[in-house]
Subunit: 373 residues, 2 copies
């Protein structure tokens, strides 16, 4: 039984395919890994560019292989016939595909007689362990993110307070404006920021609410930015929470608790530790000081998301530090982002990115943590 | 046999899921359409936001359904057990899934006894026909694109020529700089432009090469911009080709031919016409005036991509105007983008977006077409 790995996807959307080939294309193409060789079947449109850019052993012409396959036994979708022919030439009988491999292609390949097995993530185990070069790329994106965030927080810090609302240059200071400042300045660093969160008040109690409208004084504003470098394709991810004016005692305590939550993670994370245990310890700590989690008044409140996730070519990738078991390993890059959310206080979240080491963590995030601005 | 539609994906990446729910989330969630009802199974993190934002009939708690399912028959992946339970409560026996539905989930659902059928695109037939509102959103993105492009072309037009290279304010004018101008100004319009193409010389002979380095005078620069509105999620797509200085006779002829190619499409496109016939007519026209297509000197040259593609929530979506048959219908929004590429001359491409009507086309693109700037 000879095995091959097969991906059929576009590498714009599919990080595994980009990881395997280092080649970006907006339309589906075919990747086969067999006998230690990486092979692409490319359309005429992309063939020449793939030849010069893709980090693979061979770039074949899809149209030529389709012709070849059609001469032998015309049937089914023509491009899968080309894949079939290529796999048969290598004597492949069993195919490993990623968990997101399309059912439609899987069915057709099984009809051709292959054993097709979808693998759980990570498809390439080594993708969870970042090389020095990858860590450098993530750090680069992070530095740009910090510069953009600093400018955004500066605008909030220098805003005026009138009737409990914020104003900049006499104009209402809105979530939308701060988001635009962040996204435009990140684009200036060739980083693409989407769905940036600048959420005050009740908006921030939904951790994925992007926030909208006029920002208020004296209540926490959660700023969560997670751009992807257009050049290197690596993401960064960070969150800060600030209050312009005077935070309530509850918000101050929440902020302090979230900082402590981060410290628990920084102390516990190291090679060989289970992320789940860390997540539970933070959850228990929050509970022990009165910050309970659960549904209240028809809304989830407390700490109801994971403590962290891997960051790399995807913004959310393995491992997770959360409710499922996951052993952390040296070289993983993960976020540490506990948060607390209550309808009567708003949201507080702090997020740094760290590299797991044999002895602990290396924090890639340099931005200060200051609640009152 | 009762049938349901099922999507398991994240709506950031999956346009069908966003189309069906109008709800954006970065992590996978579950969509079921049964008995004319749209139902979501959402994580605790996203449930409240989905309740307020998603255009569906019901938002269920995934964690509660997982618990319910575990009490009955614990097995397999817990979230699919929840899907199974929900489908059984509705008496579903057959599931329609999109072509990109993950094989892994498909296999597990089949083990639960369902007939699972992957559908060819378009999964929602109605997605190819744009409503007035959708056309307005696409047009909005297009207007921002035109403004950004005008600024970029202005920089090229006002550049200085020294030793056959372009300079702006005494600095070398590069592809990278023009791309940054385009991408940053589009972000100012809340449009996310990625992989913008500003390609001169041989770069432009690969239609998907983004271009790099110092731009030259007297040779064509292909500028292809295709941003997505961060607000509406709708894309626009346009291409212009300019020469600063004096284009060669061949380039002038290529430009004229490509304009004629567009005109052929504008004349032919209307409700009921097959896109393939239009593509072939343009290809034949190019051949008839000496612009042949094929491999030469180890490179594809001539006109070796499609004439157009649908634009909407994805930059490339059905229909296609190209080598395969596709009947165009009133309300489809498609690009018209013939191009010619030769190693001894460079690349020329022009691209407009049009709406198919019962009598012809309505061109959504207003930007002028001027070769020499």
């Amino acid at each position: 039984m000879k095995q091959a790995k097969l991906i059929i996807a576009d590498s714009e959307k599919d990080a595994n395919l980009y990881y395997a080939t280092q080649f970006l294309a907006p339309d589906s193409f075919i990747f086969v890994q067999v006998d230690g060789k990486k092979i692409l079947l490319m359309s005429d449109l992309e063939r020449d560019r793939a030849k010069s850019q893709a980090k693979v052993n061979e770039v074949l012409s899809l149209s030529q292989w389709i012709k070849k396959a059609a001469q032998r036994a015309p049937r089914g979708s023509s491009f899968l016939a080309a894949v079939d022919l290529l796999l048969k030439e290598y004597g492949v009988t069993s195919i490993q595909v990623p968990s997101n491999f399309p059912l439609m292609h899987g069915d057709e390949l099984r009809q051709c007689g292959y054993e097709v097995q979808a693998q759980n993530d990570p498809f390439f185990e080594e993708r969870t362990i970042k090389s020095e070069e990858e860590i450098q790329k993530i750090t680069q994106t992070q530095r740009s993110t910090e510069q953009a965030l600093e400018a955004a927080i500066q605008i909030i810090a220098s805003s005026e307070i009138k009737d409990n609302f914020l104003y900049a240059h006499g104009q209402p200071l809105t979530s939308e404006l701060i988001k635009k400042v962040l996204n435009v300045s990140l684009m200036g660093f060739e980083c693409v920021a989407q769905h940036t969160i600048v959420a005050g008040g009740k908006d921030a109690v939904d951790p994925h609410n992007e926030g909208s409208g006029h920002l208020r004084a004296h209540e926490p504003v959660v700023i969560d930015v997670f751009p992807q470098s257009a050049k290197t394709r690596y993401f960064a991810d960070m969150t800060r929470t600030v209050v312009r004016g005077n935070p309530s005692d509850k918000v101050k305590k929440m902020y302090q608790a979230v900082r402590e939550g981060q410290e628990i993670a920084f102390l516990r994370i190291k090679d060989g530790v289970d992320g789940q245990a860390i997540h539970e310890e933070i959850m228990n700590y929050f509970g022990s000081i009165g910050f309970d989690t659960g549904e209240k008044d028809g809304r989830m409140q407390g700490f109801f998301h994971g403590t962290g996730h891997g960051v790399g070519l995807e913004i959310h990738e393995p491992p997770r530090i959360g409710q499922s078991s996951w052993i952390l390993k040296t070289g993983m890059v993960v976020t540490v982002e506990p948060g607390l959310y209550y309808l009567d206080a708003g949201g507080v979240r702090l997020e740094d990115m760290v590299v797991v080491t044999s002895t602990g963590v290396k924090n890639l995030t340099q931005a200060p943590k200051v609640l009152e601005v």
